[in-house]
Amino acid sequence: MKVAIEVNGQTVAEEVEDRTLLVHYLRETAGLTATNIGCDTTSCGACTVLLDGESVKSCTMLAAQADGHAITTMEGLTADDGELHPLQRAFREQHGLQCGFCTPGMIMASVSLLDHNPKPTRQEVRDGLEGNLCRCTGYHNIVSAVVEASGQEVDR
């Protein structure tokens, strides 16, 4: 079937198998490989992207379900002139990533988190990111990164 999705501001329209997952559509059809796959049970959040501004796990949706909608992946956060999104900057500054595999999903989930709660406490960040797993960082610096990106001071 033909699926047309606006990905990071550009429409991608391709013929794909009906059962194509959104994450595979993004990675293979749209050629955007930042979005990762870390599980097969909707548990890890490595595949998190924004669908019309709301975070979704792209491994759990068919590409067809996103037909006609707008998707933002981590690649879409960087401005055309290379300027980083505050969350991208904060993840680097606060060392909120190590191997980087969870990072695209973690950053997209954080965009959505800050959208709903612009000044979260550390505990609110922890609770908000419960569906995004990281094996490397112990989460401490991920929490700091989100707090920093929200314009609040990081005190630990």
């Binding site: 190590q98 419960e130 490397c136």
Partner: protein
């Protein structure tokens, strides 16, 4: 001014936060255009004879290129001493998840369809699903070996060891099996070139060792294999070298004449990537009522899983058995037994966390028995600072340490006395939410492997920039930044002009890789040697150009120029000029560092938990840590390694376990079932600094990759038991889940009622 020791954001990150890393699955190069997809069909049964495999229907399915089984693969099996392992199960399957067939198809989604059509008949055998069942030796995994015991180490115990002790405590403690779960699963891509060489892109912790494994498996020379390590999404020990799947893929690529891509699923990863820990340890500790321990005994039974992959794991546990303590008598022994479960291999700490868990639980059990504060008991038995280097009874040579100071600092930072007072208040008032404090004092060994050194190469490019090559293989640790910082200090060349490369066996033919927390001490020292050589060569060249004696030349590291000592600042030469003069590729040094000896990082952790005594639910409230690994190159990365270690270590104490039922079926085979710790279950970590250098390598550093994992597990574990100690509980095996805690409380109540 030196940048080592200052907080530097990582050079690795720009890519990782914009377009994302390039992991194996992300490779889009020409060599893989048109590559077929691979999938392993795995055993759904723990122990069985394979009576028949019919692949005909699968072969006829759309897009299927080939279906291979053991009958097709004409390679001798891999030696896994004292037995062997076929690349695909040959006649018998020995664990759920063992690869039985390999399917190649044009498209990814065709694989699962085809796999369904493969008809495999199994004739079930009795499963050996636990250590006890293995020791019974009734059903054997390898009848030709004659026993499930794969390895035995240690001497007979002396009956009199505990004779002079006023108090003796003994207990068997389970160090449960956990799954490493790097967030990136295993993956590889491979293709045979027209030059007859196999090219493999592999998610691994060491390309060079992977090359050795793959070449040996395929029966070709190492020069016929090139391994390239793209970005790697975590390894934690489980991605050391190359798993048998990679050899099967290399063979299949040759046989089919096609380039192949393989990525496992998470469920496959949980059942068929190696697991870690899996020990059953019996400790006996004896001493005087004043807190002095006189004797300690550790008896290890290591579950190896179905194939013994890492024989030295229990040996390392024995080596580190007595921890930070000056015990007059120490006895250890180990046995390793095969079970019908996934093979056990390295997992963050690999043998040392098990030793620390055993001795730190033992110290708490001893303290409880004599009614002394666990901190005081530890202090009464520490190896004193003036005793270093300290030779342990088990054969380790500790380099440097100050264990009492580490403990004092962590107790001070945590406010230990106040916490104990708060605990007493809650107990007195009958508060159902109990407070628990857990201490662990630890020492571990880094670069304890016997792998023969590490390589480093430094090239000064004609534009004055540096390309450095390391045999280490960072995959999240930020070693690229740390090495660049060291080089920048040494050469006076700014960070942004230094590129550190690794992981391509054609570029770095010799290397050992990243595991055993060895990379900074070994890889960093190798880089230091190479830079020293480059500086020596540059001195000659600069002397020549400035018409001075080499002895009068100095490298001004602030400006990155060579100058004659005392001469006007105008007469200098730059690195670019030197590289130009030396000629293309000439200002370069390639060194191998093999002088280094193992080092012994140490520390102390304090965990604070709350346990709801009505439900058994545990909340980790605080985790305070001293982790001393000598001088710190990049505090940002150093703290990050500690955070990650603390999280993973706490997870083992609180939540994680890879479970099998009595039939050998894994019951935690997806991330929905396996209790991977999330952000909500962890507190902010409180880090306390301490730096005690070693003399055993050129940089004075020790490893930090695993230290915090090793310290945190027993601290959190001890805290949970401490929380309910007043209710009569002495021990709860990990993970201390609500059910386990609740059961322990019930058992204690029943025992009291009797």
């Amino acid at each position: 001014m030196s940048i080592a020791g200052t907080r530097v954001v990582r050079v690795e990150d720009q890519k990782l936060i914009t377009t994302g890393g390039t992991y194996v699955e992300d490779l889009r190069g020409d060599a893989l255009t048109g590559a077929v997809h691979a999938m392993f069909v795995r055993s759904p049964i723990a122990h069985a004879r394979i009576t028949s495999i019919d692949t005909s229907e699968a072969l006829a399915a759309p897009g299927v290129i080939a279906v291979y089984t053991a009958a097709d693969i004409d390679l001798p099996p891999a030696p896994v001493d004292p037995v062997t392992q076929s690349w695909l199960a040959d006649g018998v399957v020995r664990y759920v998840g063992e690869a039985v067939a390999l399917v190649l198809a044009e498209q990814r989604y065709q694989l699962a369809d085809a796999a369904e059509l493969i008809d495999i008949d199994y004739d079930p055998l009795e499963p050996v699903s636990s250590i006890d069942a293995a020791l019974a030796d009734e059903t054997l995994l390898f009848p030709e070996h004659g026993s499930n015991v794969m390895q035995v180490n240690g001497k007979e115990f002396d009956e009199k060891t505990f004779d002079d002790c006023e108090v003796v405590v003994t207990r068997t403690i389970v160090n449960q099996r956990v799954a490493p779960v790097p967030l990136e699963v295993r993956g590889a891509a491979c293709t045979w070139g027209d030059d007859g060489r196999l090219m493999v892109w592999l998610s691994t912790q060491n390309a060079q060792i992977a090359r050795t494994v793959v070449a040996a498996g395929l029966g070709v020379g190492e020069e016929s294999v090139r391994i390239v390590t793209p970005d790697v999404g975590g390894g934690f020990g489980a991605k050391v070298g190359a798993d048998p799947e990679v050899v099967a893929l290399g063979w299949a690529a040759r046989h089919s004449g096609r380039a192949i891509r393989w990525t496992e699923t998470r469920s496959e990863n949980l059942t068929s990537m190696t697991h870690g820990r899996a020990q059953q340890n019996t400790i006996t500790i004896g001493g005087r009522r004043d807190g002095t321990v006189l004797a300690f005994r550790l008896e290890v039974v290591q579950d190896t899983g179905a194939y013994p992959r890492l024989p030295f794991l229990p040996i390392l546990t024995e080596l580190m058995a007595s921890g930070v303590y000056h015990f007059p008598r120490v006895e250890t022994a180990s046995r390793a037994v095969a079970t019908n479960t996934a093979p056990i291999s390295a997992y963050r700490g690999a043998g040392r966390p098990e030793a620390t868990a055993a001795v730190e639980r033992a110290m708490d059990l001893f303290a409880a028995e004599i009614g002394m504060d666990p901190g005081e008991v530890r202090k009464a038995n520490f190896i004193a600072p003036e005793e270093f280097p300290y030779q342990t009874p088990t054969g380790a040579s500790y380099d440097t340490g100050d264990y009492a100071t580490a403990l004092d600092r962590v107790l001070e930072a945590g406010g230990y006395a106040d916490l104990r007072a708060e605990q007493a208040r809650r107990r007195a008032s009958g508060d159902p939410v109990a407070l628990g404090l857990g201490i662990s004092s630890y020492v571990e060994v880094t670069a304890g492997d016997d792998s023969g050194g590490e390589g480093g190469r430094v090239d000064i490019n004609p534009d004055g920039s540096v390309t450095a090559y390391t045999g280490s293989s960072p995959h999240g640790q930020g070693l690229g930044t740390s090495l660049a910082m060291l080089l920048s200090d040494q050469l006076g060349i700014p960070l942004d002009k230094i590129a550190v490369r690794h992981g391509d066996t054609d570029e770095v033919p010799k290397g050992i890789g990243t595991f055993a927390s060895r990379s900074l001490q070994m890889g960093g020292s190798a880089m230091r040697l190479a830079a020293d050589q480059v500086i020596a060569r540059a001195r000659e060249l600069a002397a020549n150009m400035l018409e001075a004696s080499p002895d009068d030349l100095e490298l001004n590291v602030d400006q990155g120029v060579w100058q004659v000592r005392g001469a006007p600042a105008s007469s200098t030469v730059t690195w670019a000029q030197l590289a130009e003069r030396a000629g293309e590729g000439e200002l370069s040094a390639d060194e191998w560092y093999d002088e280094g000896a193992p080092t012994f990082p140490f520390g102390a952790h304090l965990a604070v938990v709350e346990v709801d005594t009505l439900t058994g639910k545990v909340e980790l409230r605080r985790l305070i840590a001293v982790d001393d690994a000598g001088p710190v190159v990049n505090p940002l990365a150093f703290r990050g390694q500690r955070h990650g270690g603390l999280g993973q270590g706490a997870a083992q104490a609180l939540l994680e376990v890879m479970n099998y039922d009595p039939d050998g079926n894994p019951t935690t085979a997806t991330l929905a079932d396996y209790s991977f710790i999330s952000a909500t279950e962890l507190p902010d970590f409180e880090l306390v600094n301490m730096e005690t250098p070693t003399t055993r390598n050129l940089l004075g550093v020790k490893g930090i990759g695993e230290a915090a994992t090793i310290g945190s597990t027993p601290a959190v574990h001890n805290a949970v038991v401490d929380a309910v100690a007043h209710l009569g509980v002495r021990h709860i095996d990990m993970p201390t889940t609500p059910v386990r805690v609740w059961q322990a409380l019930g058992d204690a109540r029943k025992a009291e009622a009797k």
